[in-house]
């Protein structure tokens, strides 16, 4: 049944609309996992999550439970979390240290950090004359077909061939360049805390919301107004007449009105990746920022510093599984759990060599916007659930992405939204275009 649909799947996507089954059909979900998530580059984690040999982190790639593990030689490997003997999951925790080698809790087969078989109990007495031993690759933990690292961010692909990570990311690698370049030492390190939030909706609904510049002033107006009221009260009381920047981060959801959002721009790239420019480009002139600027100029020189700090990005979406807010050093990894359930893993990073105050500023955003007590995403999640409920109904067959359709500017393989079309649904059109290509591609 599944593959009977395949020839017609392309018909599910038109330039400005998409069939609702794309979000709700479990068979299409399975095919997505096979043809997108378990084939292309999926973010596993940052190498600083596993600093010491034996450190591991469990990560889901498509439907596959994987382990990201640091080996004795310093390399980061990605393995299927499965003992080749009887299929036992190797590590039951979300993270930990395996010691010098993995040891299965069922029959004590042991494996090196790169998955190679190390020992089988009773190898001599129990397996003499059989095909089970070190020479048989089926006795090792299976590795992800390909693992690559871009500036500390580890990705894996479960398909042996296809584009390299650099080719796949293309221009969207600016997410990591922007984040790392903002560090005086050119690197970031993980803040060891992962907020995990489940939404009851298809994974694509989350991604489509990320660069939807129209929704904040509608969805988040309650938070924006509330923060703006308190911001004014604090400012009136404060000597210098300013509330902490964290209030501005929230109040902008209301003070930046719908028409102003059109002033931003989205840049849409091949493979479904998109960038939303603007908004966070603001550069405060407080003492903390000036101290940071000074350190950055010492590290890079003024010319390079101006280039780095002038990168005007609010959000980068790396299809199909990553939403990065590089100026705030945070990202959300999207892990589809089922056709109507999606887990987001939310991480924050520290700019190496930057003053503590700069870290705390972005931490405030992490806590207020991206924690499980979020003042912002609570209303998004409500929308996502309602969206999925509506799409599951027979009340209509299509989802439309027509805002500012026909006004996009195409150049050098990328689609830019025209001036004053920042709320264009171009990012959704771009994501669905990539989706259709992935889903209908011959292997």
């Amino acid at each position: 049944m599944l593959h009977e649909r395949v020839p017609s799947l392309g018909k599910y996507v038109e330039p400005d609309r998409v069939r609702r089954e794309v979000y709700t059909d479990p068979a299409i979900f399975d095919l997505e996992m096979e043809r997108i998530h378990e084939r292309f580059w999926i973010y596993c984690g940052h190498e600083s999550q596993v600093p010491k040999a034996g450190d591991y982190y469990a990560v889901q790639i498509g439907r596959q439970p994987m382990l990201m593990v640091r080996a004795n030689d310093g390399r980061v490997n990605v393995l299927y979390n499965r003992c080749p003997h009887r299929g036992n999951m190797m590590c039951g925790d979300r993270s930990g240290n395996a010691g010098d080698f993995f040891r299965c809790s069922y029959h004590a087969w042991t494996f090196h950090h790169d998955g190679r078989l190390r020992s089988i109990p009773m190898q001599e007495s129990g397996y003499a004359g059989t095909r089970w031993g070190k020479d048989n690759p089926d006795c090792s933990m299976k590795r992800a077909a390909r693992v690559e690292n871009y500036r500390g961010f580890v990705f894996a692909s479960l398909a042996p061939d296809g584009p390299t990570l650099a080719e796949f990311l293309g221009e969207s690698r600016v997410a990591f360049d922007d984040m790392c370049d903002r560090a005086p030492e050119g690197e970031v390190e993980i803040v060891p805390n992962c907020f995990r939030v489940i939404q009851r909706s298809n994974w694509k609904i989350f991604l489509e919301n990320q660069l939807d510049a129209l929704h904040p002033s509608v969805t988040h107006q309650s938070t924006g107004r509330a923060a703006h009221e308190v911001e004014k009260i604090i400012a009136a009381k404060a000597k210098k007449g300013e509330a902490p920047l964290s209030y501005h981060m929230l109040s902008a959801f209301a003070t930046v009105t719908i028409d102003k959002w059109d002033g931003f721009q989205t840049l849409n790239y091949p493979n479904g990746h998109c960038v939303l420019t603007g908004y966070m480009g603001l550069r405060p002139q407080d003492p903390d920022t000036l101290a940071y600027d000074k350190i950055m100029i010492e590290a890079y020189g003024r010319k390079r510093f101006e280039e780095i700090i002038g990168v005007n990005i609010h959000h980068v979406l790396i299809y199909p599984g990553l939403s990065v807010q590089s100026p705030l050093q945070q990202l959300r990894a999207v892990r589809p759990l089922g056709v109507d359930r999606t887990l987001t893993e939310i991480w924050h990073f520290r700019l190496k060599g930057a003053p503590e105050a700069i870290y705390r500023r972005s931490l405030a955003y992490y806590n207020l916007v991206n924690s499980p007590s979020t003042l912002v995403n609570a209303d998004d999640l409500e929308n996502f659930w309602k969206c999925h409920q509506g799409l599951a109904s027979d009340g209509g067959d299509w989802v439309s992405f027509g805002r500012h359709m026909g006004r996009d500017l195409e150049r050098d393989g990328r689609v830019e939204t025209a001036p004053n079309c920042g709320t264009s649904e171009a990012p959704m059109r771009n994501q669905m275009k990539a989706w259709a290509q992935y889903m209908t591609a011959e292997r």
Binding site: R196, I198, T219, A227, L343, A378
Partner: protein
């Protein structure tokens, strides 16, 4: 019991003054007063009396829910909640706003607070108290359970106890959240 409840509802200020008097360290009266305070705080949450809830905190009070028990401070640390009174006011105003969409569906909570241990009482009357809570939440047709430990640093005022710090160590703090937490637990 019923009579007490009726009387205290009629004259909350008088009751608060009565419970706020200084007592012998770890005495039965402190135990009783602290328990009454914790129960009343939980009641304010369950009855969605947000402004009264926020008023239970001192002007420099903090509501803090660390993501894991090893955290000793919220300063510079990831936190599920780390809210002073201003941020608590933002949260309150948000949920009261007519366009707080996530507030539209029917939802309610039921807190049970127990295992109340007066950890220490200072000469100035400040009290550190530990307790356990269990909260059941209903949102639409979905039930969630949250449970854990409260640590309250309370100070005595003319109006009764006020919270300088409420630390909430939730047993399921690290578990994936099916939806999020909209108000304080």
């Amino acid at each position: 019991m019923a009579k007490t409840a009726r009387r205290s509802r009629a004259k909350p200020a008088a009751r608060r003054r009565a419970t706020g008097r200084a007592r012998a360290p770890n005495g039965r009266d402190t135990q009783h007063a602290v328990e009454q305070f914790l129960y009343r705080q939980a009641e304010l949450l369950d009855e969605k009396r947000w402004d009264e809830y926020v008023d239970l905190f001192t002007d420099d009070g903090m509501y803090w829910m660390p993501p894991e028990p090893s955290h000793a401070t919220w300063e510079g640390m990831p936190a599920i909640f780390a809210e002073d009174k201003n941020l608590m006011t933002v949260r309150m105003k948000r949920v009261l706003h007519p366009d707080a969409w996530s507030q539209r569906p029917l939802w309610g909570t039921n807190h049970v607070v127990g295992n109340v241990v007066v950890e220490r009482e200072l000469p100035n009357g400040d009290v550190c108290v530990r307790s356990r809570f269990h909260m059941m939440e209903l949102r639409r047709d979905d039930v969630r359970h949250f449970a854990g430990a409260y640590t309250h640093h309370l100070t005595r005022t003319r109006d009764g106890f006020r919270i300088k710090l409420q630390r909430v160590d939730m047993t399921n703090a690290q578990a994936a959240y099916d939806y999020v937490l909209q108000v304080w637990v």
